[in-house]
Amino acid sequence: MNKQFRIAQKTGLMFRDDEMLPEDMNAWIQSQLQVASPALGLASSYADVAQWPDDLQPDLSRRASMWRRYRDLENQSREGKNGQETQAARQANRHENLTGKMDEHKFVQRNVYGADQVKLRITAFWANHFTIGNTFDTSQMIGHAIDEGILAKLNGSFADLLYGMTTHPGMLTYLDNVWSAGERSEQAKGCARRPDCQAGLNDNLGRELLELHTVSVAAGYTEEDIKAAANVLAGWGIDFSEELSQMRKKAGGTDHWNAYKKRWAEPGSKKVMGQSIYAGRNGLRQLTDFLASHDATIHHISTKLCQHFVSDSPNTEEIEAVKIVWRESEGDLQLIHTKVLELAVNNPDAKFIWPMTWLFQVVRLSGATYFKGWEKIHDYDNKLMHTHKVFEELGQSFWSSRQPNGYSDDKDEWMSAEMFERRVRFADAIYRNGNPRQSAKEIMDRIGASNQTRALVASVGPSWRDRFIALMCSPELMGLDYV
């Protein structure tokens, strides 16, 4: 591949067939980190690329009120009230009040049409690092966390990113913190006296904050540290279903991203990995700041970043280089990302491309229209699958239910016949139904495909479709080593 596409494959989503190619790739990467990030997409298959309408991008409080409305109508449906029990009414309720499908559709469209491809790739890395799996209630919040918790904070500090994602209602719900109560909290004490009341510590988020989001098990913390972290977290977050009047009473306000229920909080100071954490709501920021600057965190995440962007087996020098920038800049994400991208550009190794990223790249390279317009999202189309279904079949979606450790950056985890079969099938489906503007030959000429890739494409015979499939499933486009 020529320089432009080799770099775009590793650090971005490939240049669309109608995009101008930059001359100076180093300047391009720098500018990519600063570029504006409007959510771009199509209203319908024949429309021009445009910005997503505001009313399809609800803020948190609207998401919560839609969720309460959804639950209310579902209850009416269950009780057979107000005509809500019909299939049509239930479907209308889902379409009008649940945001998950629309959010995923927006995420996909902006990845296909966005002019901010490097930021979107980095966003995907962090969205995976701070995995919020779909437990149905969280589907209302995942898209918000990606847009406002990650993409909007890409150029800030890691400490801000960590605090923001730890306190995001999606994370607090996914890892059960909204129901956790400190061991000696007023709520737990009060409940102990009542037979049908349950309140206690849930260490789910405390555990993952240490193990996955920051220091990792290599830091050698104990179960006591996990419990202490969980006690620092106790009180944070509130069930999305809670009426606002109740929320005001419990959390003293109606901001879901800043909801702290004093009655559920653990009194007194705590000690996490030797660090004293003071009581009260400020304790959490103290804890996440402590963890954000911990050397074990810097090592853990620098390694992950290198494996995601630089090489399937990054060397110690590369990881060290990121760690040095991290330490010297005190976790400035813009500088950290710049270093990682520089290493990616300078490392000539192939880097395995995630299925999700690969699909975006195939669509962008070919100029296909493989996803429905936002106006048609709920309509049946005999050619184009529902967007959520596409990624479910592909085997990778940020809106799927999955474990909190997220998708692996390790190539070996993705090497399976079924996963490869899906690449072939989707390349076929995109060719047949997405009306690609570019043929295999045109794409190979533009990206400067290697001789091996050209030989592979030529070997499958004269069918334009077979050539398209062979190109997209070539080692070069999948990010695998050549023969």
Binding site: Q403, M415, S416, A417, R432, V483
Partner: protein
């Protein structure tokens, strides 16, 4: 959690009598037998064991659960009945190829689906303590590959790098690629990737169309496991057991949400039976659910998250039929935290026995390395002899 250990409590085999013990082979050839296969049906949402296998002989049952206890139950013995949806399973019981363990659970009492599902698959000492699963670790120890019937590897099977996923693609607007094309693509790849594309090509030639319903998948899994070099383990998930409301139909206790889901389980077991063929003789199938449900009916003819439930076992490697239980009773004082069916048998012991039987591993090794619980009670003899 000391109440969960079997210890001094005797395990009672109910359901002996004529119905289940007729024509039973005599056990005692365990050492000569080659290892068998193990299949897990995960029932997501928390299955109501008191409805699946109602203890009709317990005087408190009808007092507390009249609207959700099927009146058309099949009597297994004086004490236990079986939900009418479990027809095939009932036949297996009659022929000595199915057993149940009642009032059992993993040692998890906090009633969260997410934590509970993680624990029953991870099989560690607490939820989220494991990144691999108990079946995956057991397969690791025995050096054989498992097979997951879903695209993503479920936690329960993780741990063994030779695990082989299979879930047929269903992509609208695409056709199955020709083997020639796939073989040419394979030739353009390095060794490991080339092998995988070649495998896709082979499957493309096989022309196997696998339907997606759980029962047909079970049949497919059974067939695969019956092959000489086929996988020895499989896992199938059945969801929607979270019956908070309308567990039964209004006025018909034999139908409703739970009845439908139990029919699926019954079809899955039947699918395995058909698919396994002669390999059924060495097979064990067991259900797994994150928790049982409350003893009392709630305000919406359903039940809420609880603790103890029932585990259903089937397969030719069972040498006996019966309900294995140390029945705790349903009275308020017998309930866990005055609301749930108490669990008196640690279900990890059941899983350990199934591993011991199918994979031929030593119980102490399973207890220590698979469940990290060296003192886990061994109940193998109650199930397999």
């Amino acid at each position: 959690m000391s109440k969960l250990t079997v210890g001094r409590r005797s395990i009672l085999k109910a359901g002996a009598a004529s119905l289940f013990l007729a024509g039973m082979p005599v056990a005692g050839f365990a050492n000569a037998k080659p290892p068998g296969s193990i299949s897990v049906i995960i029932l997501e949402g928390g299955m109501d064991g008191l409805a699946a296998m109602p203890p009709i002989g317990d005087p408190d049952l009808m007092r507390m659960r009249q609207t959700i206890t099927p009146d058309n139950y099949l009597a297994l013995n004086d004490f236990f009945g079986l939900h009418p949806s479990l027809k095939f399973y009932a036949q297996l019981m009659a022929s000595g190829h199915a057993s149940a363990v009642h009032a059992t659970a993993f040692p998890y009492t906090k009633r969260s689906h997410f934590e509970g599902q993680n624990l029953i698959e991870g099989g560690g000492l607490s939820p989220f303590s494991e990144k691999t699963g108990w079946l995956g670790r057991a397969l690791d120890l025995s050096g054989v590959a498992g097979r997951s019937l879903s695209l993503d590897m479920p936690l329960i099977l993780r741990g063994h790098h030779e695990n082989d996923n299979f879930y047929p693609a269903s992509i609208r607007g695409s056709k199955k690629p020709k083997a020639d094309l796939l073989n040419m693509i394979a030739m353009g790849h390095q060794m490991d990737a080339a092998q995988l594309f070649t495998k896709v090509a082979r499957k493309s030639e096989d022309n196997v169309q696998v339907p997606r319903d759980p029962a047909s998948l079970a049949k497919y899994a059974g067939r695969a496991m019956a092959q000489t070099d086929g996988p020895v383990a499989s896992v199938i998930r059945v969801s929607e057991f979270d019956s908070h409301s309308n567990q039964t139909e209004n006025g018909n206790t034999n139908e409703g949400r739970l009845a439908r889901q139990l029919s699926v389980v019954d079809d899955v077991i039947a699918g395995y039976r058909r698919g396994l063929g002669e390999a059924w003789d060495d097979a064990i199938i067991l259900t797994l659910t994150e928790f049982g449900r409350t003893v009392a009916v709630n305000g919406t003819r359903g039940t809420d998250h609880g603790y103890g439930s029932v585990g259903l076992l089937a397969g030719g490697s069972l040498s006996n039929s019966g309900v294995i239980t140390d029945w705790p009773g349903l009275g308020k004082k017998d309930q866990f935290e005055k609301r749930d069916l108490m669990a008196t048998i640690d279900y990890r012991s059941v899983c350990a026995a199934c591993i011991e039987k199918s994979l031929g591993l030593d119980h102490d090794l399973i207890a220590a390395k698979v469940f990290q619980q060296p003192e886990l009670p061994r109940i193998f003899d109650h199930l397999f002899t």
